[in-house]
Structure formats: C-alpha cells, structure tokens
C-alpha cells in the first residue's frame, strides 16, 4: 500500500522511532534477480541440516505407516470409542495450516497490500504442501486404504455412488478442489519468475524451466492476460478457502456427539485455520530469511505486519472460542456441558488449559513492538502458537470420545501409541521435506512482484518529494 501518512508524521517518526530497515527502494532489478537466483544455488549449511532431519522424520513416518498397513490399525492403540485419535486431529491441523497461504496471496492481493509480495510465494507453497499432508492423513486413518476411491463419485458398472449425505464426501470433494486450485495458483503466479530462471539456467535445468515457463516472453499482451487470469484465480480461491475448512468443521458440527454438535464450528474452524497458518508463516519466514540469506527481502517491517495480522486473528479465534464455551455452558444440552466440564477437569485437563493459554494468552506477546522485532522470541512464540492450535484440534477429538453420551464407554485413560506419534512426526517431516525441496528448486521470493513493489514505492517517494 502506498504510504498515505503526511510528511509531518513521517518526520516525527523518523526522529523518535528507530526505523527498521525495509526493502531498499533503490535496489537494482538485476540485483533482485541475482539475489533470488542465488538462493537456489548455495543456501546456508542449515538448509542441509533441516533437510536431513525432515528426511529422517519422514522415513520414520513411512516405516510406521507400512507397519500399520501390514498389521492393522490395532498397532495405533485406537479402540472403541477412541476411533480416530491423533490422525484426525492432525488432519484438521494441516488443513488449517493451508489457509494463510490463500489469505496472503489471494485476499491481500485483492486488497492491494503490497507488503505481502516478498513472502506470499512461500506461503502459497505452504498451502499446497500442507494440503497434501492433510490428504495423507485421510488415507492413513482408513481401515482399508486400498479402497479409498470408493469415496469418489466415479462411473462404475454397479451404479454405486458415495453417500452424498456424508460430510466425509464433502470433505473429499472440497479438499480435492482446493488442492487443485492452489497448485494452479501457485504455479501460475510463478510463470514470469520461471522464465527468469530459464534465461539464466544452463544444462538440464534450462530444459526444465523452459518447459515450465510455457514460452513466457514478457510481452505486453502476455502481461495483460496474466494479470486478468491471476486475479480471476485469486477470486476463485478465496471462497474455496473459506468453504474447505467450514466443511471440515461440518464433520463435527453435523454429527450428533456432545462437544461436536456446535453451530459456531465452521467460523471457529476458519479462524483457527488462519491463526495457525499465520503463526506457521512467521516460523517459516524466520527460517527462510536465515537459510536463504533473504534479509534484504524478508525485512523486519514485513514480519511486523504479519505478527500484527496474527495477533488480530488470534483475538478473533479467542472470541469464537469463548463464545463456544459460553453457548455450551448456558445452553440446555446437559451432555455437551458435561463434556465441556470433563475437558476442563478430566484426564485431558492439562492439555485443555495449555491450549487455552497458548492460544489466547501467548499471542499477547505479539502486541509489543519490542517482542515483534526479536527474531528468536518470534520463532519461539510462533511455534508455541501452533502447538496451541494442534492441542485445540486434539481437544476437539479425544475428550468427546472419552466422555461421550454413553457412560459405559467413558475411558479413564487413553494414550496414542508410538505408531501414531511416529506417523504424526513423519507428517511434519514430509511437509518440511517438500517445502525445502520447493525452496531449492523454485524462486521462493517473487522476483517480478518485488520489482513492482520497489517501483511503486520509489514512484510514491518521488511524488512525495516533488
């Protein structure tokens, strides 16, 4: 956004507040190309450490899944009534993570917030990869993975359809659509940058980028079409992002169980999704900034804005969370109230209180400028926020199973087995492995949009100085 404050404000600010360094407006376009392309060549050694760690985690996850596939879901120590365990909780977590990519790339694009430009590419990649991770959990938790395609409405000789009443079918459709669209969006927005890669790369890479850049020449006509198409996809993606987590919420809201059958779940889930997604963006921002030496582009003012956005969303989430408790507490549904009391006092009480603390109190750290300017603190805080959001999903699933309608099935203790934990950790490995690979192969900072941003800012400055 063009700075609209008048000069006197700027003068005062310049005198009293030490201004954090933003993107250098005089940076040469060739320098932008060089810096971003360099990130694809020689990252800091930390890159390989992270990559190796995620590969190891992923390998362990694959081992656990193969073991579970061969032996049966019994190795996960799931039981009746704890039929879902960590799998579905982590599934919701990953679906949630996917939302902020769209927030940054599509919603803020339409709102012309130009500070998103250096960071939206990796946020969009995060969307795509966390959706792919979430999709894995849908498969992992199935008893008969090999027949997952029964959920898809495909033509077959027996004329059997999936059950369109079931929220799981809505899920499959919504996630499939969102994943496809976000891959298209990610790829489409990258085409001009891929052309830059093509023009500088050599050998087999040149062929690779040549193929992917679809003959981009950067002509006026191409740019005009590109703009229109990009905006169209962005507009298409926004309702999808909202609908996908609303539909995940209906898995619970449509069901009859106490603690799930809550009308406010869809907006609550969407808020939680944006929340954890924004927190994840802060984490990845700090990692990428260090690993790929992006200090020039991923600047502190951008982090500052992201943190303020996260704080606002955290407060929305807190509000919806409290509203949920209040409506259950004052409602006449004795079962739901019992389950709520059980969450706060029963077996899962430590996790429930931790979730409320991490989700609603810790974000207040983001309200202080001195905190927002400290990378170490922000790294820790963003990880804590995401831990809180993971606990939130865990606290939706397990207490309802442990203390549902039927007293005979109330469980005194249930803990997931190492296989479940292994698969959950493996999913983090899978996500960061894909993400790190992406960052190495594709330009993580959008070169053409940073150029635009620099151009507009210097124009604005010129206009101000005249």
């Amino acid at each position: 956004m063009i700075d609209r404050r008048d000069d006197s404000d700027i003068e005062i600010e310049r005198r009293f507040v030490p201004k954090a360094k933003d993107i250098n407006e005089d940076i040469a376009w060739a320098q932008i190309n060089k810096d971003v392309l360099r990130s694809m060549e020689r990252p800091r050694p930390m890159y390989w450490v992270i990559f190796a760690a995620s590969l190891a985690l992923f390998g362990f996850g694959v081992f656990c899944e193969v073991y579970q596939y061969q032996t049966g879901l019994g190795v996960a120590d799931l039981n009746n009534p704890q039929v879902w365990g960590l799998y579905i909780a982590t599934f919701i977590f990953w679906i949630g993570m996917s939302h902020s990519g769209t927030l940054l790339s599509a919603i803020l694009h339409i709102m012309h917030a130009d500070w998103r430009k250096p960071i939206y590419r990796f946020a969009e990649a995060m969307t795509t990869f966390s959706l792919m991770t979430a999709g894995l959990f849908v498969l992992v938790h199935l008893g008969r993975v090999w027949q997952f395609y029964y959920v898809v409405a495909y033509p077959n000789e027996r004329w059997t359809w999936p059950n369109f009443n079931s929220p799981l079918v809505w899920d499959a459709t919504a996630i499939g659509t969102y994943l496809t669209s976000s891959i298209v969006f990610l790829y489409f927005g990258m085409i001009p940058d891929l052309a830059i890669c093509r023009d500088t790369a050599t050998g087999f890479r040149r062929k690779f980028y040549w193929f992917l850049s679809l003959g981009w020449q950067g002509t006026d006509r191409q740019w005009a079409n590109f703009r229109v198409a990009y905006l169209t996809i962005a507009c298409f993606l926004i309702p999808l992002a909202v609908s996908v987590h609303s539909i995940v919420a209906t898995d619970f809201a449509v069901s009859q169980q106490p603690g799930w059958h809550i009308t406010s779940f869809p907006p609550y889930f969407v808020a939680g999704a944006l929340y954890s997604g924004c927190a994840a963006i802060i984490t990845l921002f700090i990692i990428l900034r260090y690993v790929f030496r992006f200090e020039e582009y991923m600047t502190m003012p951008i982090l500052d804005k992201t943190c303020r956005l996260t704080f606002a969303i955290a407060m929305v989430w807190t509000y919806l969370n409290l509203i949920e408790y209040a409506s259950v507490w004052y409602g006449n549904d004795v079962y739901a109230k019992e389950t709520l009391i059980y969450r706060a006092t029963g077996l899962y009480a430590p996790y429930w209180w931790a979730m409320n603390f991490l989700g609603s109190v810790v974000p207040f750290m983001l309200a202080f400028k001195s905190m927002r300017n400290n990378l170490t603190i922000m790294m820790v805080v963003s990880l804590l926020l995401n831990m809180g959001m993971w606990l939130e999903r865990f606290m939706i699933i397990s207490p309802t199973f442990a203390h549902g309608y039927y007293p005979w099935t109330w469980t005194s203790g249930w803990w997931p087995s190492w296989v479940q934990w292994g698969i959950v950790l493996g999913s983090f490995g899978w996500f960061s492995m894909l993400f790190m690979l992406f960052c190495k192969i594709f330009p993580t900072v959008s070169m053409y949009e940073v150029k635009e941003m620099v151009y507009h800012r210097s124009e604005a400055r010129k206009a101000r100085n005249l």
């Binding site: 009534p81 079931s166 169980q257």
Partner: protein
C-alpha cells in the same frame, strides 16, 4: 432419472425416517424387547453371539486396550452411593447392549460410501465389502456399539484347526472393516426364504436371534413388529411405546418400557423394560 424429475420430486426423494405407520403394510419389521428384571447377567447371550456370528476372541492384551469385539455386551452398573449398594447386591444392575437398529440411525447418514444403510425390514445393515474403514459411523454412534477390526483377526483368533468351528453362514471379516450386531440377519434371511417358498409370512417364534435363544430366563424377546399378533408387537403395545415417536405418551405411570437415548431421536428398535427394585431392602 432426468434432472427435471429430480427437481420436481425432490422432497419425495429425501429419506424421511421414521414416520407414523411406516411398517403398517410391510411384511417385516424386526424388533426386540429386553426385560432387565429377568436379566441375571449370566453372559449366555454374549457367548451365543460369539459362536453364532464368528466373533473373534481378541485376547487379554487387546481387550485391556478396549479392542474387544463383543457385538452384544453385558454392562454392569453399581448402585454406588445409594442405599441399594449393600452386600450382597451392591446395587448390581445388568444391561445387555447391542446395536439398537435405530430407525433414524446416526451412523447411516455419515458413512461416506453408504456401507451402512437401512433395509426394508427395518434393519441397520453393514456391507463389509463396501466399508473402507473411516470409522465415522462409530464416532457418531451414541451407544458405541460398532466394533472395528483393528487386527487381521481370522489368523489371530482361530489358528488351525479352530477355523473349522466357524459358522459357515456368516462372513469372517477381514481387518479394516466395521461390524456390529445384525440381529442375526443370516437366520432372518433363511427364515424369510423358507417362508417365501411356502408362500406365507414368517410366523412368530419361527426365527429368533442367538442371544434370545440362549437366554435362560427369556429376558430377550425377538420378533416381527409388523405382525401385530407377535409377542414383540404385543409387548411394545402394552408398554405404550411408539416406534416412530421420540416422546412417549404413556397413560400408565407404572409401565416399565423405555428406549435408551430416546431424546436423541434415533428411534431404536430395542425396547428395554426397567428393573423393578424394592428400595426398602
């Protein structure tokens, strides 16, 4: 079916269950009555169910993890903190619990592949071949009477030559599918086929479930509720419990019949008769 037909007849194509006199003209509607006053908690019904329906005995370790496969379970409740909780009774109360064959079953709507659905004779059926094991049905079941095959039980529960004692009329389920009480559907099908061959309706008492057959105190009564002269239909009528109603309008306060979680509007097909206790004892 054309699109215009679909739009025009949308309301009639929606599943609305149950409704008044749904089974008035039907041949069969299977139902059950369990008299808790007669139940001694002897577990004969559970054993019979294990034998009839090829239920695997999961072993101590799995059982303690809550992975037992008892389609019919005897629940024990103790009268703790009441004056009934004295020796020798301890206020012990037994409740045989199996799939309630709900007329508006929470499990049926949520199954993504339609593996569990309602049959015309009022059963809540489970199609093992279609089940993909998402376990959503179990998550949404208020009674938690659905059991999942966590392991490949055929190998674990019936090592050679034990597989020779399996009931040939009942599928042996593989790992990864959901299962539950079927009201011994293999017996019902056989009886219906026999009756159809003879050109008649299945007579009352001609077919019964394994649990009802094994019960030494005849606490379980099973039969065809569409036949108003059957034992089951008579008890339901005597207890003034309507199948398609979620609030019973009982004229007599002393009637013992009730359905579990009636207020959740699942419309179960199993009627329980309350236990009568002498509270002065």
């Amino acid at each position: 079916m054309s699109l215009s037909n679909l739009i025009k007849n949308w309301s009639s194509l929606r599943v609305k269950r149950p409704y008044q006199d749904q089974y008035k003209n039907a041949d069969y509607k299977w139902g059950m009555v369990i008299d808790l006053d007669s139940c001694t908690g002897c577990n004969a019904c559970t054993t019979a169910c294990y034998a009839e329906n090829n239920l695997p005995v999961v072993g101590k370790e799995s059982f303690s993890k809550g992975q037992a496969m008892h389609w019919l379970r005897i629940e024990r409740y103790w009268g703790e903190g009441t004056e009934l909780a004295q020796f020798p009774d301890h206020g012990a109360q037994f409740l045989p619990m199996m799939c309630q064959q709900c007329e508006s079953a929470p499990c049926e709507v949520v199954c993504p592949v339609g593996a569990t659905h309602h049959t015309p004779d009022g059963l809540n059926s489970q199609v093992y071949n279609r089940c993909i094991g998402s376990r959503y049905c179990s998550a949404n079941c208020p009674y938690k009477v659905r059991y999942f095959n966590w392991w490949q039980y055929p190998e674990r529960a019936w090592p050679n030559p034990l597989e020779k004692q399996l009931n040939p009329d009942v599928t042996v389920r593989s790992k990864g599918v959901m299962e539950k009480c079927t009201f011994c559907v293999q017996r019902l099908t056989a009886a219906k086929n026999q009756a159809r061959t003879d050109g008649r309706r299945v007579a009352d008492g001609e077919v019964t479930t394994a649990c009802a057959q094994a019960c030494p105190t005849s606490a379980i009564t099973f039969g065809n509720m569409a036949d108003s002269q059957s034992q089951v239909a008579k008890i339901w009528a005597r207890q003034q419990v309507e199948l398609a109603s979620d609030k019973q309008d009982k004229k007599d306060e002393g009637l013992r019949g009730y359905r579990i979680f009636e207020e959740l509007r699942t419309y179960p097909s199993v009627l329980y008769l309350e236990r009568v206790r002498n509270s002065d004892a």
